[in-house]
């Protein structure tokens, strides 16, 4: 496994370099002079020159690029234009909140998706199956920027069960996690149904039943275990959607994570902060994909890493 991990990490280097290059190039996509765009039309020439110097825009492009990569190697993502403090520090401060929300959303998704998908597979073609799939299709089609406010209206405003803004105890986490996890739950439920239904037709499940193992045990201990690889793969692939969804969910519920920081920074034209947030989310995503790859081996010992 170690040689595989080393090779996988090596292959990630060009991707990460490409990601860093694209993030570096972002500020150069700003039409016209980035410094003027950031400060606005009324800014004085002196202020613009100072900002150009602060951002390094007065240097040749190659020098800017090398300095940017050098900064990354030292975990230096630059200085926020709004607060004047290091970007990396502010992002690290917000990271636990986003992590907490993403994990909670995945837990919500799995808690909803596995029973729904298993029930649909076991009672395939029946009312249970149709109902479960309609619910999951509705979940896929319902944008989280609509579901979030709806949950806030019903469970926050009307019923008063949960707070609708900020981070605190577990009660603060419920609505953002459900809002973020619902679409993932819908996707996973469809995949769970398809794979469990396929496994239930395999001879080893019939053999298990013939040996007198109960239906529930045959489904949960045999069919579900062998269905986990595609489910984990899909969950891993959907982490990207969770991280992007977090940008919206954090904005709706005033959740103090990286997503909200990103949206606030866009509003303030704090481009070093925007670059830092984008870079960190992309790197996290690449890292999660590697972890998902490695989890396969744990789930299925037949998989050999070469």
């Amino acid at each position: 496994m170690l040689p595989y991990l080393a090779r996988r990490l090596l292959l990630t280097i060009p991707v990460l370099l490409g990601v860093a290059t694209l993030v570096f190039a972002l500020i150069h996509f700003i039409p016209g002079d980035p410094a003027r765009a950031i400060l606005g039309e009324v800014a004085s020439e002196a202020d613009i020159a100072q900002l150009r110097q602060q951002l390094g825009l007065d240097r040749p492009l190659a020098a800017q690029y090398i300095a940017f990569l050098g900064g990354l190697a030292r975990a230096d993502l630059g200085t926020s234009l709004r607060t004047g403090t290091p970007v990396a520090g502010q992002i690290l401060e917000r990271l636990p909140a986003t992590f907490e929300l993403a994990v909670a959303a995945i837990v919500v998704a799995l808690t909803l998706a596995l029973p729904l998908g298993i029930a649909a597979a076991v009672w395939r073609g029946t009312f249970v199956d149709h109902a479960a799939m309609i619910v999951s299709l509705a979940g896929v089609s319902m944008p989280n920027f609509w579901l979030g406010p709806l949950l806030a209206i019903v469970f926050g405003v009307e019923l008063g069960w949960f707070p609708v803004a900020g981070r605190g105890g577990l009660e603060h986490l419920v609505l953002p996690a459900v809002s973020l996890g619902a679409a993932l739950a819908a996707v996973l439920a469809r995949m769970t149904r398809a794979t469990v239904a396929e496994q239930l037709l395999e001879p080893y499940v019939l053999a298990a039943r013939a040996r007198g193992i109960s239906r529930a045990r045959a489904v949960l201990r045999h069919a579900l275990r062998n269905s986990l690889i595609p489910i984990v793969t899909l969950a891993g692939l959907q982490i990207g959607a969770v991280l992007t969804g977090a940008v919206i969910t954090e904005t709706i519920f005033a959740w103090p994570g990286i997503g909200r920081l990103l949206v606030q920074s866009i509003g303030f034209r704090d481009y070093p902060m925007v670059q830092g947030c984008i870079l960190l989310i992309a790197i996290t995503y690449v890292g999660v994909n590697i972890v998902v790859d490695l989890v396969y081996g744990v789930l299925d010992p037949r998989i050999r890493y070469r």
Partner: protein, 265 residues
């Protein structure tokens, strides 16, 4: 029930085409005295924060959403089809270059790069289309590449090559048609995805700018009135969910009939 998706899509298409004539009020006309009024006999969906009729704005918003969906998918599918077929057909360094570009773009989760691009380019409908297309082609390129890799080994392609057919002709006449079923499924699902993405960007204030009605932007303005006027949030969101549900249903049906994109790779 089996054609529910197609029915929804046709109804929304009709609403987008004849919506401006069907709308009971001018979507920009303001009745400030009645601002935030709830749904009633005259204004079925109620009025927004500037006293504009929400039903009329939802109908006008259908045009914006479908336009963005169709343009983004057309541009993305065209770029993806060209790059995917070139990579799949030629292999070697061309395929490597396309593959690495795809890898880099896939390292950005979902909408994130589009958010970043619109943030630096400035919020506008054109920039939304530009940003969504510049990341959207990746999915199409992967599907087409996988199909082309398979199709280039077919005997009729070898025969076309043997009788001296030019590469562009082989690609367009013989190989790309093999990728069309998978591409059709991807396009149907892609329109729904593009509509959701446009709405998400507009929700964040990065998409269509006022006074043009956009479902996402309407949801964004509705946030400030979630306590006193929840109807501002309910109806535009319902419109998005219904359209995307319809497109997903059609995409699912097509996938069952034509095969899953890329599954034969």
């Amino acid at each position: 029930m089996r054609n529910a998706g197609a029915v929804v899509v046709v109804v929304v298409l009709l609403a987008a085409i004849v919506g401006p004539w069907l709308a009971p009020f001018d979507p920009s006309a303001q009745e400030l005295a009645l601002r935030l009024e709830g749904p009633g006999r005259l204004h079925w969906f109620g009025l927004d924060e500037l006293g504009r009729d929400i039903l009329s704005r939802v109908l006008s918003g259908a045009r914006v959403s479908l336009l963005v969906g169709l343009v983004v998918v057309s541009v993305s599918a065209s770029i993806g089809a060209v790059l995917g077929s070139l990579g799949g057909y030629y292999g070697g360094i061309v395929d490597e270059a396309v593959g690495r570009l795809i890898d880099i773009l896939l390292a950005f989760p979902g909408l994130l790069l589009a958010i970043a691009l619109v943030a630096v380019l400035g919020p506008s409908l054109t920039n939304v289309v530009l940003a969504l297309s510049s990341i959207g082609w990746v999915g199409y390129a992967r599907v087409v590449r996988a199909q082309v890799l398979q199709a280039r080994e077919f005997e009729y392609v070898a025969a076309a090559r043997a009788i001296g057919a030019a590469t562009p002709r082989i690609l367009v006449r013989h190989i790309l048609p093999a990728a069309l079923p998978a591409l059709t499924v991807q396009v149907t699902l892609g329109i729904g995805g593009a509509i959701l993405s446009e709405a998400a960007l507009s929700f964040l204030g990065l998409g269509v700018q006022p006074p043009t009605p956009s479902w996402g932007a309407m949801l964004n303005y509705g946030r400030a009135h979630i306590l006193d006027a929840p109807h501002l949030t309910v109806f535009p969101g319902l419109a998005i969910a219904v359209v995307v549900l319809g497109l997903n249903l059609v995409g699912d049906r097509l996938r069952d009939k034509l095969g899953r994109p890329g599954e034969s790779a």
